[in-house]
């Protein structure tokens, strides 16, 4: 998994945040690309997004998060290139 060429560019590689359903609708966007600034977790990243998209605050209590297609805690440490998703309450079926 380690890629010596990419790892030298780690600071430059952004994370991608995916938004779905109500989260996509109220923010008007399905994808946000962000640069990590130092040691960030899912929680700190979400707060950063919520500054630009305050509509997300009302969803906060019901949101779950995923990192690289796995449900994750908001204390999870993020790495360059991670794919984060905001998961409103699911209603498949």
């Amino acid at each position: 998994m380690s890629d010596p060429i990419r790892s030298t560019n780690n600071q430059a590689k952004p994370v991608i945040v995916q938004l779905f359903a109500k989260a996509a609708e109220i923010t008007g966007t399905r994808q946000i690309t962000l640069q990590l600034s130092g040691e960030e977790t899912v929680g700190t990243l979400f707060r950063k997004i919520a500054i630009n998209h305050p509509e997300l605050s009302e969803l906060k209590a019901s949101l779950r998060f995923a990192v690289n297609h796995e449900f994750s805690d908001d204390t999870r440490r993020l790495h360059p290139g991670d794919e984060i998703a905001l998961i409103p309450p699911v209603s498949g079926g």
Partner: protein, 146 residues
Amino acid sequence: MGRLIKITDGPISIDEGLRQVAYHSNGGIVTFTGSTRSSTKDKKVKYLFYDAYVPMARSEMAKIADFIAETFEVRDIAMVHRIGKVPIGETSVLVATAAPHRAEAFKACRYAIDTLKNTVPIWKKEFFEDGEVWVGNTPSEKPKHA
């Protein structure tokens, strides 16, 4: 172990789901199909729309299938979910489980649909004559789809 995990934007073929699990079906196949007809008591639903985080939804469905294979004596499973616009009354989800003993097939099918509804990142929106709403168990709204 026959397995079909699929997210599709077209109609769900029940035959395809059954064919996929029928190979070892000495015993029985239990199938759950879900559809929405006119959802709420007072509001008429015109149609539905499903959004999905497709790669993660596939991966969560595969986890359910893995768990079932380990836990129940189920040899074959199909899980199919439709996304995009879905007309009222058409099938939005299919789960089929085949097992030599029907008790196991029933338990596995029930587990699969219950878990799918809790963990698979797919979202349903109901469109009414005068509005639309994302279904989800936030305090103000409860899932209509039991």
